[in-house]
């Protein structure tokens, strides 16, 4: 951890650890210092580390807010709204402190890509805001070297190369796996999704199929172009289901769909709704227009999509 964590504004740092002992040794003093200064603390990591920290902090742990990252942060686009609520609620209480671990071993390549994008977007989301120190733990023993190398590009106070990295926005999606099914967005979208999944991914429940249907419609309604029809196709990948909507209007806002409170209109609202319902949401902008991929995990499968 480098830099002055009490500097003004947003201070976004990596917290590197190789063992649980190292994690606790780094995090506990930060939390204890914040509590001693009566400054708010929110910790968002996995339940094992939450329990470790609570055990070490003892009775003072009741002064800390805790959230399980594996649930709410499975889709990284849901994380910034959590921090926004924390900042909005406590902005008058001096410096705010957060420990958030959005990147963990076992995430799929797609999730890692989006989690790293999330890390970069944090710098945009909280620039110019109240004093807020956010420490992001990274498991150096179990994360791939390429993932660890990316830390310095998203954390301004990490040592090494801090040159800006191009975001994901205009990088094309890879080709779908298998043969996608094209579905008419003017028809019974949810019925078509249910029928397709009953045949190709029967472990996905009707409720999750319905959530995917609502997400597709939300994106199409709020991001559709007035002069052209969006296109929708659906396929199954190892571990998950992917719904892709293309030919969309995407505003020039890298934080679209990650606001709190949610936007009332437009693309931001469509993406926000999809972010709440899906296990992963990915957005790209190509010369042909915006493209969104919505992912659902298949219960009981191995690697999620």
């Amino acid at each position: 951890v480098t830099g002055d964590p009490r500097a003004d504004g947003f201070h976004h740092q990596a917290l590197l650890y190789a063992t649980a002992t190292e994690f606790v040794a780094s995090a506990v003093p930060v939390i204890e210092g914040a509590l001693a200064a009566d400054e708010p603390v929110l910790v968002v990591t996995d339940s094992v580390k939450l329990d470790l920290l609570r055990d070490h902090l003892g009775s003072v742990s009741s002064g800390v807010a805790w959230k399980d990252m594996r649930g709410i942060g499975g889709n990284p686009a849901r994380i910034i709204p959590i921090w926004r609520r924390f900042v909005a609620t406590h902005a008058s209480r001096g410096r705010l402190w957060g420990i958030g671990e959005p990147v963990w071993p076992g995430r799929t390549p797609e999730e890692l890509e989006e989690a790293q994008e999330h890390e970069r977007l944090l710098n945009v989301a909280f620039a110019g805001g109240p004093p807020f120190t956010l420490l992001c733990p990274y498991d150096t023993a179990n994360l791939a070297p390429a993932v660890l190398r990316d830390i310095v590009r998203s954390h301004p106070f990490a040592p090494g190369d801090t040159s800006p990295q191009q975001g994901l926005g205009d990088a094309p999606f890879p080709a779908p796996v298998g043969a996608p099914l094209g579905i008419d967005l003017d028809g019974d979208v949810s019925g078509s999704i249910r029928a397709f999944l009953a045949e190709h991914a029967p472990a996905v429940t009707d409720a999750r199929a319905a959530d995917l249907g609502v997400s597709v419609v939300a994106v199409a309604v709020h991001m559709g172009r007035p002069d052209a029809r969006a296109r929708f196709r659906l396929w199954v990948e190892p571990g998950g289901v992917v719904a892709e909507i293309t030919g969309l209007v995407v505003p020039d806002d890298v934080l679209v769909g990650r606001e709190w409170p949610p936007a009332r209109e437009g693309a931001a609202r469509g993406l926000w709704l999809a972010n709440q319902l899906c296990d992963l949401v990915r957005l790209r902008v190509t010369p042909a227009g915006g493209a969104v991929r919505l992912h659902l995990h298949i219960p009981g499968s191995g690697e999620p999509a």
């Binding site: 649930g71 499975g74 249907g213 609502v214 309604v221």
Partner: protein
């Protein structure tokens, strides 16, 4: 003691009306706080508002589920507003449909 246990004492064999509904990603049944309740109220208000606005008859099942979960979280919020809230939030018993 977590508040949800106060609301549904172990062994009483009953759950809130939305207890059997699948949860959304990140939604918990136990160890919730007032902040969680406010968060999920906002989520379900947005979802029900969207489906109502588009007159989404094809999504009637989802709309009913979202409304039940909205009612559930409003009940949680009311209960948490009148008793001490635990500062914890675990993904225990997280269950998705």
């Amino acid at each position: 003691v977590v508040v949800s246990e106060l609301l549904s004492p172990p062994g009483d064999g009953k759950e809130p009306s939305a207890g059997a509904d699948p949860l959304l990603p990140g939604e918990n049944r136990r160890g919730v706080t007032l902040d969680d309740a406010e968060h999920w109220i906002a989520v379900y208000e947005e979802l029900t508002g969207f489906l109502t606005a588009i007159n989404g008859g094809a999504h009637v099942g989802a709309l009913g589920r979202y409304r039940r979960r909205l009612d559930y979280w409003r009940g949680q919020w009311a209960a948490l507003s009148t008793c001490p809230a635990p500062a914890e939030d675990t993904a225990e018993e997280q269950r998705r449909g």
